[in-house]
């Protein structure tokens, strides 16, 4: 237990501190906020690298790569609630990825948000998000994880709705927040159930943690009324949280709308980190997920994992299909993220932690690269986001074009060089060898095809053909309100982004390229790092088993997708912004159907929202007429009684009493005359009394 483990808490706390200071700072102190955020991120990055090196050191000298530090938080009753953080290969990798990507995006957003008034507020939220994300990563306690999880949700709400003047942004942030909350509710139920069963929420507490064998076995033995054991139940509930947060199938609607936020936000949160949190959660509680009463050794998938796989596969296919019919540059990337997340979930379900995580890491890098590229394109086209109005940017923005193509190819999984290929292949390979059913493999493959297709469509739209920007930019720009793309640049023609934006692109591009080689079947360093297995360079693995055919088939798929893309869009790029999409011309109804994302929004609107409004109407009616009525009648009764009482009081009691008082005071008046202070008056009274007594005496004496 050396210094870094004990002080791992510094990693999330530094950005939190930065967020706090810039929150209190004045709007004008822009440089301070930026430097604080970036500085704290840099320090956290260094600490993460130190932690990563520490874990490597432990691996190299064969010690247990997992170290835990728990402390007692507060006591309720005679039990202590203790929190803690954990440092194991999974945490190390995620720490490095999040801090590195976050730092680059911070630097990028300095340039991007330069002209924004709420610069400091933006950096404060970014720092807060970073600290929350890091908190999720290092948490060794499910409750701590859940707390950071909630802060992440909050920051996503704040960042999406950063330009809250725009009604669409405000609605989008609300939507994101509510849908993730819907996901978080079962997650919380899961936590409670877990705590009830296992008595502690600490993952690893040298034996007593909830993810350790004793509590897992205990959970397995607990039957639930629904038939499956409580472990599965908890796993499914926790997975619901992951669905909400990572935008899996039923709860993915908020992700595309989240594009309303500034591009660095999309890049950081909706590409690299936050959405990955769901996947990370599943990876973190993997022992719980994969627990099943069957033979522990052999990788038979438990019901939870099967669910994960199916959900992942469906989402992957679904995201890819919709992405094809989108026109907004960032919406295309959003739906591609949804499908890639589906891939990750499927990878986790079929391949285990290493497979899913490897794709997560690679995806984080090239997706953030793509988003930043899109950001510089938008910046260049002075706020224009609709790809139909772009075009011909390859000559105008060479750097962006180059890095963008690298990102695109990595995403599609262009054979051999690009990281996307290796990580996706791993997943397809695992799916292929999944013992339950082959459907996920085919869905995955078709999704890969569609991925390649819509990415190439996008490329040709943006960079191919002539620039369509001049025609319509003065007509109406898609986002008139977004302040940062105002025609500040004077000349409307697109131009290359400033150095501060292109440098992160330049850094991300090579990583996107080279990262793949860390997880190739030949030299599976990443997998062995995560699974803590022995590492051996073995080129033979490439060809053994079904590895080779899967790789070949996937590369063919990718090439096929690119070709179709070039066929439809590359040869005859559309002339004007209003021209219909080439694919659209083929089957307009299908195209528009896909354009509206299967009308899922409308569906939800129709069902859930509608249900909600109906319910509110009913309750309003109920409230207005039934309860209100009852209350009104009661008040009326009371009122009546009050009037009656008032009448009685004033006319019967009061007046009576007043009369009494009147008479008393009148008699008092008379009596007071006697006491008027005239001494002789008193003397007369005495004399009178004297007379009376003597008369009485005499009269008595007489008889």
């Amino acid at each position: 237990m050396n210094w870094i483990v004990r002080n791992l808490w510094l990693v999330p706390v530094l950005p939190l501190l930065a967020a706090g200071i810039s929150a209190l700072a004045k709007r004008k102190s822009r440089a301070m906020a930026a430097s604080l955020a970036i500085g704290s991120m840099a320090i956290s990055f260094l600490l993460s690298v130190w932690a990563f090196a520490h874990v490597l050191l432990l691996r190299s000298n064969g010690q247990a790569t997992q170290q835990v530090f728990n402390f007692r938080w507060f006591q309720f009753g005679n039990e202590w609630l203790s929190l803690g953080w954990i440092l194991n290969p999974l945490t190390a990798v995620m720490l490095v990825m999040v801090t590195f990507v976050g730092m680059l995006i911070f630097i990028y957003s300095v340039g991007y948000m330069e002209h924004d008034d709420n610069f400091t507020r933006f950096f404060c939220f970014l720092a807060l998000f970073a600290s929350a994300m890091l908190g999720v990563v290092i948490a060794n306690n499910l409750l701590l994880l859940f707390m950071c999880w909630e802060i992440v949700g909050l920051t996503s709400y704040l960042l999406i709705g950063f330009w809250y003047e725009k009604p669409s942004a405000a609605a989008a942030s609300k939507k994101a927040f509510i849908t993730t909350r819907i996901g978080d509710l079962p997650f919380f139920l899961g936590i409670v159930w877990l705590y009830a069963q296992s008595g502690t929420l600490l993952f690893y507490n040298n034996g007593a943690g909830c993810l350790e064998s004793t509590s897992i076995n205990h959970l397995l033995t607990q039957p639930t009324p629904l038939g499956f054991c409580s472990a599965t139940g908890i796993a499914l509930l926790v997975f619901c949280g992951a669905i909400g947060k990572s935008g899996q199938f039923p709860l993915h609607v908020w992700l595309p709308d989240a594009m309303e936020g500034p591009t660095p936000v999309s890049a950081l949160i909706h590409a690299a980190t936050m959405v990955a949190a769901g996947v990370f959660l599943v990876a973190r509680v993997y022992p719980l997920m994969s627990a099943h009463s069957g033979i522990a050794t052999e990788l038979t998938t438990s019901t939870a994992l099967q669910a994960v796989t199916w959900i992942g596969a469906i989402t992957a296919l679904f995201g890819a299909v919709i992405a094809v019919a989108q026109f907004d540059i960032k919406r295309i990337l959003a739906y591609s993220t949804v499908s890639q997340l589906g891939y990750m979930m499927m990878g986790l379900g079929v391949g285990g932690v290493a497979v899913g995580m490897f794709h997560l890491i690679t995806h984080a890098f090239f997706k953030s690269l793509l988003f930043l590229g899109a950001g510089s394109v938008i910046h260049g086209c002075s706020g224009e986001q609709d790809i139909r109005r772009m075009g011909g940017l390859r000559k105008l923005m060479p750097f962006t074009f180059a890095t963008y193509t690298v990102g695109m190819l990595a995403l599609c999984g262009f054979p051999f060089f690009f990281s996307g290929f290796w990580s996706k292949d791993e997943i397809l390979h695992a799916a292929h060898s999944w013992n339950i059913s082959q459907a996920p493999y085919y869905m995955g493959a078709f999704a890969a095809l569609l991925t390649a297709f819509y990415m190439s469509r996008q490329m040709f739209y943006i960079f191919g053909g002539k620039s369509r920007l001049t025609e319509s930019s003065e007509g109406h720009s898609h986002s008139p309100v977004s302040p940062d793309h105002s025609s500040h640049h004077g000349s409307n023609s697109p131009h290359e982004s400033p150095k501060v934006m292109t440098v992160p692109l330049m850094l991300l591009a090579p990583v996107a390229l080279l990262l793949g080689f860390f997880g190739t079947p030949a030299w599976p360093w990443f997998q062995s790092f995560l699974d803590a297995t022995q590492l051996a360079v073995d080129f033979g693995a490439l060809s053994e088993g079904s590895m080779l055919p899967v790789m070949l088939s996937s590369s063919v798929i990718v090439l096929l997708g690119l070709g179709i893309g070039w066929w439809i869009y590359g040869r005859r790029p559309i002339k004007s912004a209003e021209a219909p999409d080439n694919l659209g011309k083929l089957s307009p109804p299908l195209f528009t159907f896909l354009g509206h994302a299967f009308y899922v929004d409308a569906l939800y609107g129709a069902t859930v929202i509608n249900l909600n409004t109906q319910l509110s109407k009913i309750s309003d009616w109920l409230d207005r007429w039934i309860w209100n009525g009852a209350v009104k009648t009661v008040t009326n009764i009371v009122l009546g009684l009050a009037h009656l009482d008032n009448f009685l009081d004033t006319h019967v009691v009061n007046s009576g009493f007043d009369e009494g008082c009147q008479s008393v005071s009148r008699s008092g008046q008379i009596l007071s005359l006697l006491q008027a202070g005239r001494i002789q008056g008193y003397l007369k009274i005495v004399a009178g009394a004297g007379i009376a007594f003597t008369l009485l005496l005499l009269w008595k004496a007489k008889i």
Partner: protein
């Protein structure tokens, strides 16, 4: 009903009536002294020599002078305008009359039985002294105490405020 009794009674009544009705206060006091002296004479006529002389010594000697002093000190000697509302005075006189009527009636009807005319008892002073010292020694002491208290009290009350608070 000897002549002297009638004479003395007449002087007493005229004296006291004048005392009560004269406007000028000093004249009232003097008329009062006349009345009191004739009352003392009545006491002598009744044989109570000691009481008569004490009456003169106390009332004429001290009380009348005290009243005179009081009149002087409160500047009531000047002829004060008599503002009394008549009803006020009439009611007073009426009540007094009624009291006299009742007492008179009581005396008239009551004393018929006690008309015994015993021998003229004479009360020599030393007998009074003896009685004072034996039977009435307690009242004597109390009277002594009372008189000293009255002396001091009257002194302090009438003393000039400035000297009293010093």
């Amino acid at each position: 009903m000897t002549i002297t009794f009638l004479l003395l009674a007449a002087t007493t009544i005229t004296g006291t009536a004048a005392a009560m009705s004269l406007k000028n206060l000093v004249h009232c006091v003097l008329a009062l002294t006349l009345g009191l002296v004739s009352l003392a004479a009545l006491y002598l006529q009744l044989g109570a020599q000691f009481v008569g002389f004490t009456q003169i010594l106390v009332y004429v000697g001290a009380v009348a002078i005290l009243a005179a002093f009081a009149i002087m000190m409160t500047r009531s000697a000047e002829p004060a305008v008599l503002t009394g509302s008549s009803s006020f005075r009439v009611s007073g006189a009426l009540i007094a009359l009624v009291v006299f009527a009742v007492l008179g009636w009581a005396v008239w009807s009551g004393t018929g039985a006690l008309a015994v005319l015993g021998p003229e008892p004479e009360a020599p002073v030393n007998e009074i002294g003896v009685a004072l010292m034996h039977r009435f020694v307690l009242p004597l002491e109390i009277i002594g105490l009372l008189l000293t208290a009255a002396l001091i009290g009257a002194g302090i009350l009438a003393m000039d405020e400035t000297r009293r608070t010093k």
